[in-house]
């Protein structure tokens, strides 16, 4: 018996959850699935069109009311290119970006597809020019934020 042996006890957290999206995000997701439209909601006080849609504006603490479609085109605001595999996360390279869709006052995050990734620095330079992008829906939308992604125009 080693006097200095340190014991490790294996553990695992593997709980199952169902996250409740709430009424506003549910409507946003239904619009994605049924109409392939990206919707925002307008704050009754600051009048910003918040995208993705939500029930209230957290800066003003006021309800949103009007629903409006934005895009389908927009402008890339900022990005990163994930180049290293982290355990439990998707396989690189992945381009993730914030895009302000036409008509929106806020940016939303999603992946950017269709870029040549053979030269990461070259891809970064292209994205650094803050290109125009369009939303592209998957063939069978499921009512999830992953129903669409962006591609460069």
């Amino acid at each position: 018996m080693s006097e200095s042996e340190l014991i490790e006890i294996a553990g695992q957290w593997n709980f199952n959850y169902n996250y409740f999206a709430g009424e506003s995000a549910s409507r946003f997701f239904r619009e994605l699935r049924e109409n392939q439209r990206i919707m925002g909601t307008r704050c009754t006080k600051c009048r910003r069109l918040l995208v993705p849609a939500r029930a209230f504006c957290d800066a003003c603490m006021e309800r949103t009311n009007e629903w409006e479609a934005v895009g389908p085109e927009g402008t890339l605001d900022t990005f990163t290119i994930i180049t290293t595999q982290f355990p439990g996360l998707p396989k690189p390279p992945i381009v993730m970006a914030y895009v302000t869709l036409d008509g929106a006052d806020t940016a939303l995050i999603n992946l950017v597809h269709g870029l040549d990734m053979s030269d990461i620095d070259k891809a970064a330079r292209r994205l650094n020019s803050l290109p125009r992008v369009r939303t592209k829906f998957i063939d069978e939308p499921k009512g999830r934020i992953t129903d669409f992604s962006f591609e460069l125009i």
Binding site: T78, T80, F86, G88
Partner: protein
């Protein structure tokens, strides 16, 4: 209002994993050292505040149970993400200022060495409705800001690398630091790219360890070596990062919450010329871009002068020393990191920082950054009591 001082500091070493100590033992070790530094025993402590961030990082629910020390004392557990450590200190400070306690033991623990996939855990802190399906992590969140800073203010990958290399070199003088690397900016740029523009050696390490401090009301400080809390402010910002990208009054990289915290804390401390009145700064900068965002927020320079400020640090000895401990790049025990910043400032003010001591410190400033930068804290410590 009663003035509050830091009279004791205790830190375990920070490293990837403390396999020789249970979570409770880490909390106890740091707390015991803080009490010894304060020349007190647990009987003199009126309340305990324990700071611990997401529990999934340790895989232990209610891991604050390890903070139960002594009996019959008010106890709070605090979690505000990256600023957990400084929020815990501020809770203790407020307890004393309000007259509810004379002496408070504050302690923060990070136990992430027990997690086999911390970036996967970090992904779970994001909004499950709109965000969790994307590879949002602490690293990618920083990368989204770094690329924005490069476009807006002219930072280059070289600046990020210079900042990181300086921190790692400073960490060589800190016995508690986890990553002590005598490296150059070139070494940083040659390390693997994690998420453009962030390289391996520009990211903070995953560290665990505990930090504790004893806070005391002025009437029990006596002749102890004290670092006075001259200013303390904590502010929040809107959660959604996308809402702040084009916000006219402050974009995502303008750190409104840190600027407001700095303005409030500096006012309390009587600071109106920060570059002249502060000698040491401990920034919560887990990535170089976080340090760059702090310069204008702390009124060190205008945002567009940030790249020049990075360069000036290497040539102008009159500027405050940034992260003499190595900062979060030397060790990033997440739940404790913001308390470590304050503890390091307390050591600087008390002249107890050993090899990393900055000369003639009258005032030192510690920052905290948490969540999707929606929490910021600023704490000013000084040799003189300020009411």
């Amino acid at each position: 209002m009663t003035a509050v001082a830091v009279i004791g500091v205790g830190q375990t070493n920070y490293r990837r994993a403390h396999k020789d100590k249970s979570s409770r033992e880490l909390i106890w070790e740091a707390s015991k050292m803080a009490l010894e530094d304060a020349n007190m025993d647990i009987g003199g402590i009126d309340a305990i505040m324990a700071g611990i961030a997401p529990e999934a990082l340790s895989g232990e629910g209610s891991v604050e149970r390890g903070g139960m020390m002594g009996v019959g004392k008010p106890f709070l557990r605090i979690n505000t993400g990256g600023v957990t450590g400084s929020s815990t200190v501020f809770a203790g400070t407020t307890y004393i200022q309000s007259g509810r306690a004379k002496a408070v033991l504050v302690v923060a623990l990070e136990r992430m060495g027990q997690a086999t996939s911390s970036q996967q855990v970090f992904n779970t802190i994001f909004d499950p409705v709109y965000e969790k399906d994307f590879p949002l992590t602490t690293i990618t969140m920083a990368a989204l800001r770094a690329s924005m800073l490069m476009r807006m203010y002219g930072y280059t990958e070289q600046h990020w690398a210079e900042i990181a290399a300086r921190s790692f070199r400073n960490a060589c003088r800190n016995p508690h630091a986890h990553l002590k690397l005598d490296i150059t900016a070139d070494d940083v740029l040659k390390s693997p790219l994690l998420a453009w523009p962030i390289h391996r050696y520009e990211a903070c390490p995953m560290s665990e360890g505990a930090c504790a401090m004893v806070l005391a009301a002025e009437d029990i400080v006596g002749d102890r070596n004290a670092a006075w809390v001259q200013g303390a402010a904590s502010t929040s910002d809107s959660y959604a990062m996308g809402d702040r990208i084009r916000r006219p009054e402050a974009t995502l990289v303008d750190l409104l919450s840190l600027r407001l915290s700095a303005e409030r804390a500096f006012k309390q401390a009587g600071i109106d010329r920060p570059l002249e009145q502060i000698q040491a700064v401990e920034l919560y900068s887990a990535f170089s871009s976080a340090e760059a965002m702090a310069y204008p927020a702390l009124h060190f320079c205008k945002p567009e002068d940030g790249p020049r400020f990075v360069e000036a640090q290497f040539s102008d000895p009159s500027l405050p020393k940034i992260n003499p401990s190595g900062g979060p790049q030397g060790a990033n025990p997440v739940s404790a990191t913001a308390m470590v910043r304050i503890a390091e400032c307390a050591l600087q003010v008390r002249g107890m920082a050993g090899e990393r001591q900055v000369a003639d410190v009258d005032r030192a400033v510690a920052t905290g950054q948490g969540g999707a930068t929606q929490f910021s804290t600023v704490c000013v410590l000084g040799k003189k009591k300020v009411h």
